[in-house]
Amino acid sequence: MSSAERTKTASSGGFSIDFKALGPFLALVGLFILGTAINEAFLSGGNLSNIFTRAAFIGIIAVGATFVITAGGIDLSVGSMAAFISGAMIVVMNGLVATLGAGIETVLLGILLSIVLGVGAGAINGLVSTKGKIEAFIVTLGTMGIYRSLVTYMADGGTLSLDFDVRGFYRPVYYGDILGIPMPVIVFFGVAVAGYILLNMTPFGRKCFAIGSNEQVAQYSAINVDRIKTLTYVIQGLCVSLATIIYVPRLGSASSSTGVLWELEAIAAVIIGGTMLKGGYGRIWGTVVGAIMLTTIGNILNLTDAISNYLNGAVQGLIIIVAVFLQRGDWQRKKSK
């Protein structure tokens, strides 16, 4: 369904417009009620802050993924990319301690490296898939394997640990807060706002919608499809690098098990939020809520012992499917067809 078509069908039923846009929010409210019913500790300030902070990693990556998916692409490499960038940051910062000492410069250079690598990795994914004319699925599946192997190689199969003195300087980036709001949540919110403006209020965003709806029509409309598509991957890479910058100070380590399956979680967050997997329509706030929902499900399962641990995956799967079903919104108009 193209965006034009979608708007048409949506406006044909007055009630369903609200329901569709609000769908993810309603599902989240439902989850919060469920969480509170299961354990009162759910609504404690500490727990809520944990949920939002945890959602920040997947959430920031998912904001980038919203661009890629809206423009009809897919990026499977983000989890491995995050692991690789974390590893490279740790190696370089540990190396810099000898010359620069464990100070603010070391941390800033580490952050700069992260951004360069993220943007570079995104550009590679974008250019190889557009200029090389290879399906993005295959390109990013390939880079996924490459980055995962590189981090395993750098760590000798073990774990890379950040120098303890550097950790002292870097720690506030994750554990710090401004007016009681944890830093990762602030970064997450900032990225979401920037993403919303870029996707919904700029020509670039509209071009993403157009390409996702119909690439050929977009091409004929004098849109530089390759350039825009490559840029969505660069945005994705930048988002991964931002997520990594706040991830590294959390545990100060990276290993081959870092970021495993993050790509699927990010894509799931995007789709739960109402973006279409085949492209053409994207919604940043939906993605944000989707990421928070995924984290909340895990959190609720940790707060109860009513469900066998072995069934956690099943419950997660079920809740995701039900949530997406509820927000489709057109199930109630079935008989009018």
Partner: protein
């Protein structure tokens, strides 16, 4: 000669290669080592120690050639075993099976081809296939941790448990731990899977902390999980309230024990270096006339500040 070897390979594959080890004696003795790829910390240590042992054995014995192959899953490992047998034409196999059940028959085929077989860590489902069995002691790891809890808490207190990936290894450890606590007033508030992963350990512990106002001790079972738990407890500023017992023997945790860290007073060993034990024993079979067949169960040693130095390998990735 080449065709002869090839013939032997085929003969072996059909289980007729009884004379194989004798005929190849003039050539190098080939020892194939098949282990899981370095997908988590402990397996990383395993790979590192296997590589070190390979270098050491090849330097010591000029007639020994060690071939290490790593697999990402049970079926890939089964393919590896076939390749070792038919392409590399090995004389002995050292294998750490990914999973016991699916690899029992592939290892049995290697044995039936007349090869010397050493099984490490995870036992096969049919007894009597292997010549040598080398393993850490999973129930013992749970028991040692449980006994320390009882001693340190004076038989009373509230604890939480973080489990690994749902597998036999995890179940054996947890069952023995729970059994050891029986008869004491130590209450297990809850157990959750943290998949031998730092990030999961951090998140599960955060949730335990918001759920339970009083926790006296944490059994993390694994050192990767323990590192995540440590950060979560520090963040919640509840370090004075509890202590954490991990397991495995990761250098970071051993270092903390060595330094007398109050939060991690001990560690329980489950050394990935057991692969080196297995490789050495297998090499001995071909380099000495000492009998080596049998079962070697390594102890789950309790690491305390007094003995930590003996178990600290700063160069190992684990």
């Amino acid at each position: 000669m080449k065709t002869f070897t090839k013939f032997l390979g085929i003969a072996c594959a059909f289980g007729l290669g009884v004379a194989a080890s004798g005929a190849i004696a003039q050539e190098k003795i080939k020892i194939g080592v098949s282990i899981p790829a370095a997908t988590h910390g402990w397996a990383g240590g395993l790979n590192w120690h296997a590589e070190q042992a390979e270098k050491r054995l090849e330097a010591t014995y000029s007639n020994i050639d060690v071939i290490v192959v790593t697999a990402n899953g049970a079926s890939e490992q089964a393919n590896d075993l076939e390749d070792l047998l038919s392409v590399q034409n090995i004389d002995a196999l050292v294998v750490l099976p990914f999973e016991s059940d699916p690899l029992t028959v592939p290892v049995q085929q290697v044995k039936e081809a007349g090869k010397f077989v050493t099984v490490v860590d995870r036992g096969l489902s049919i007894p009597g296939i292997e010549d040598v069995y080398v393993a850490g002691n999973n129930p013992e790891l749970g028991r040692v941790a449980g006994e320390y809890m009882r001693e340190r808490l004076n038989d009373a207190g509230k604890i939480v448990v973080l489990r690994g990936i749902p597998t036999t290894v995890d179940t054996e450890r947890v069952d023995a731990f729970v059994e050891t606590l029986e008869g004491s007033d130590i209450e297990i508030l809850d157990m959750k899977h943290a998949n031998w992963n730092r990030d999961d350990g951090y998140e599960v512990m955060q949730d335990f902390l918001s759920r339970f106002p009083e926790i006296n001790a944490v059994w993390a079972q694994d050192d990767d999980i323990a590192l995540g738990v440590i950060e979560a407890v520090k963040q919640a500023e509840r370090t004075d309230e509890m202590f954490i017992v991990g397991g495995g023997g990761m250098k970071d945790i051993i270092k903390r024990v060595m330094d007398g860290d109050e939060l991690t007073p001990i560690d329980v060993l489950y050394p990935p270096a057991m692969i080196a034990t297995a490789m050495d024993i297998t090499a001995m079979k071909f380099t000495s006339n000492a009998p080596v067949e049998g079962r070697y169960i390594l102890g789950a040693t309790k690491v305390t500040p007094e003995n930590a130095e003996n178990f600290y390998f700063p160069d190992s990735p684990f």
